[in-house]
């Protein structure tokens, strides 16, 4: 606990002013129980949300990072689900805390936050391929389900995350009930070799309410990102075509398969103007 109150007085003095001591504990010690429980609870939440980031940084650096993050970004939501929402931005603003594995750490944080979004963000009624027949591509805008995140990564953290998951020993942990937790600690896992750089594009999504990752080709990724930005179907295809190396006929066939695949996964929905907080 901090040793001084905001006005410079010692915490022990301030605690004594407000809290009664008893025959076993001083005022400060009683306050300290709450202080300890607070830190256990919020740190434990971030250990649960970012196991891959912890594996990338190591326990000591990860603990320092999330402690600094929480000091800078205390919870402003009624749910702990949102606690790590500013982690990526915080890491970008503090590269010294994630060096020398900054790029890998950032990829991992983005990937893990995308999983939280995929877990419980809303799903709108899906648009089927048949519904697109006869529509004008120059006017058609398609929405992407909010729970789907497309990531342009420098490291194959999708495979790394699976390896970490496989290495973890099973444990049952508490969920939000405000019960007093034990001290947060890293999950026990076998050592997993860190991935080497390899640019990959990944969709993090859900299917039948289970989390999935799907590798995307460069052109498919560009098209889907363009749709998410609100570009028309024609414009989005144009963006992908600029990257295409093959014949126009092959491109047409490929685009058709992308749409069939995306529609089968229920990724497409009616286009909605993005909210300020919506992820890209």
């Amino acid at each position: 606990m901090q040793s001084q109150w905001t006005d410079g007085r010692a915490m022990r003095e301030v605690a004594a002013e407000w809290i009664k001591p008893n025959d076993r504990l001083t005022s400060f010690e009683r306050l300290q129980i709450y202080n300890r429980c607070y830190w256990y609870r919020v740190l434990d939440c971030l250990y649960d949300d970012y196991p891959g980031l912890q594996a990338v940084l190591g326990e000591r650096k990860f603990r320092a990072l999330i402690t600094a993050y929480l000091e800078s970004h205390p919870s402003i939501s009624f749910t702990l689900r949102d606690l790590g929402s500013q982690m990526e931005a915080f890491m970008e603003a503090h590269p010294e805390m994630i060096a020398p594995r900054g790029d890998l750490a950032l990829d991992m944080a983005r990937f893990e936050w995308a999983q939280i979004i995929a877990f419980d963000d809303p799903a709108y009624p899906a648009v089927e391929v048949d519904e697109l027949l006869g529509t004008n591509p120059a006017e058609l805008r398609l929405g992407i389900q909010p729970y789907v995140t497309f990531l342009d990564l420098k490291y194959p953290v999708d495979e790394f995350a699976l390896a970490i998951k496989a290495s973890e020993e099973d444990s049952l942990s508490s969920q939000a009930s405000n019960v007093v937790n034990e001290a947060p600690k890293a999950k026990r896992r076998r050592t997993v070799r860190l991935p080497k750089p390899e640019a990959v594009k990944v969709a993090v999504h859900r299917w039948h309410n289970m989390l999935y990752f799907k590798r995307l080709g460069e052109e498919q990724f560009a098209l889907l990102q363009a749709l998410r930005r609100g570009e028309t179907l024609e414009e989005a295809c144009g963006v992908a075509l600029e990257l295409w190396q093959g014949t126009p006929e092959a491109f047409s066939a490929e685009v058709r398969s992308w749409f069939e695949n995306g529609a089968a996964l229920k990724w497409f929905c009616r286009y909605r103007e993005p909210k300020k907080s919506e992820h890209s």
Binding site: R30, I76, D120, L172, V179, N209
Partner: protein, 285 residues
């Protein structure tokens, strides 16, 4: 008083908390359980697996909502976003009543995610009761407030905790979720007689009870919900049941969670005290 206005005139029996490690067992084996209590905030999401699971549970079981984040005792105004999501969940579950804690936990829009004890003052009781009334008017469902376990007391308090709880629920005209484990934990931490607490409540307002396990440390007791219910808590539960009558009872087990059957078996021990009550009823009359 099995059914009263504070628990929606229901008589639900013995329930357990719905927890992730038990989902598969419940959905596959469909065990006979009187009711499940859910942590509201775990299901106040926009989609995905939590709501799918909840809907499957609702097809088979009665569900009662228990919240951890309204913070009736905070001086912040009620969070309208929170309340709107909570109301949507109330409509989904059809919960006959809704509970949350008599505590504070947020300040200036920042959340501690803890259940912090209140100063037991008349001014605090008035403000808290007003917020309970506001929440109930908005949610359109009976509310029971739960006494929390605590590890600190304030110099400014003007009354005991049970007097404060009584004052709040009378002013708010709401129910009590009586957590007998929390009473026991606080009594050991603060040195009061837990039976004085139970004896001096408006028993007709008790709409639900909680039982749970706790952990003893050298200088204090922590409310950890990671053990079976200890004997002193069962004795206090039996006493509370004699005073308040047979009441919907819920076992909380939130950490180091054992198998479903073990948790359910522990919860059903409460039936023995209820049976004792019924056997002794003619003699009392």
């Amino acid at each position: 008083m099995p059914a009263n206005e504070f628990n929606g005139q229901t008589d639900l029996g013995i329930g357990i908390g719905l927890r992730v490690p038990h989902y598969r067992h419940i959905l596959e084996k469909k065990p006979v359980v009187d009711w499940f209590e859910i942590i509201s905030e775990n299901f106040m999401v926009d989609g995905g697996r939590p709501l799918e699971i909840l809907d499957q549970i609702l097809e088979q079981y009665r569900v009662v909502q228990h919240g951890v984040a309204i913070y009736f005792g905070s001086t912040d105004k009620l969070n309208r976003t929170h309340l709107k999501k909570l109301k949507a969940l109330v409509k989904r579950t059809g919960t006959p009543w809704l509970s949350d804690h008599l505590c504070w936990g947020s300040s200036d829009g920042r959340y501690t995610h803890d259940l912090l004890p209140m100063p037991y003052t008349f001014a605090a009781a008035k403000v808290t009761a007003q917020k309970i009334r506001e929440a109930r008017d908005f949610l359109e469902v009976p509310i029971c407030v739960e006494n929390v376990s605590s590890y600190a007391e304030y110099h400014v308090s003007e009354m005991t905790e049970w007097e404060f709880l009584s004052e709040v629920v009378e002013l708010a005209d709401c129910g009590i979720l009586l957590d007998v484990n929390n009473i026991y934990v606080s009594s050991q931490n603060h040195g009061f007689n837990p039976y004085d607490y139970v004896n001096n409540l408006p028993h007709q307002r008790v709409g639900q009870m909680h039982i749970a396990g706790h952990s003893k440390f050298e200088k204090y007791i922590l409310d950890t919900h990671d053990h079976p219910v200890l004997d002193p808590v069962w004795k206090l539960y039996a006493h509370a049941t004699r005073l308040a009558g047979r009441t919907a009872t819920l076992l909380e087990w939130d950490d180091s969670i054992p198998s479903f059957d073990e948790v359910h078996h522990e919860a059903l021990k409460a039936n023995q005290f209820i049976a004792d009550l019924q056997e002794s009823a003619p003699a009392l009359a």
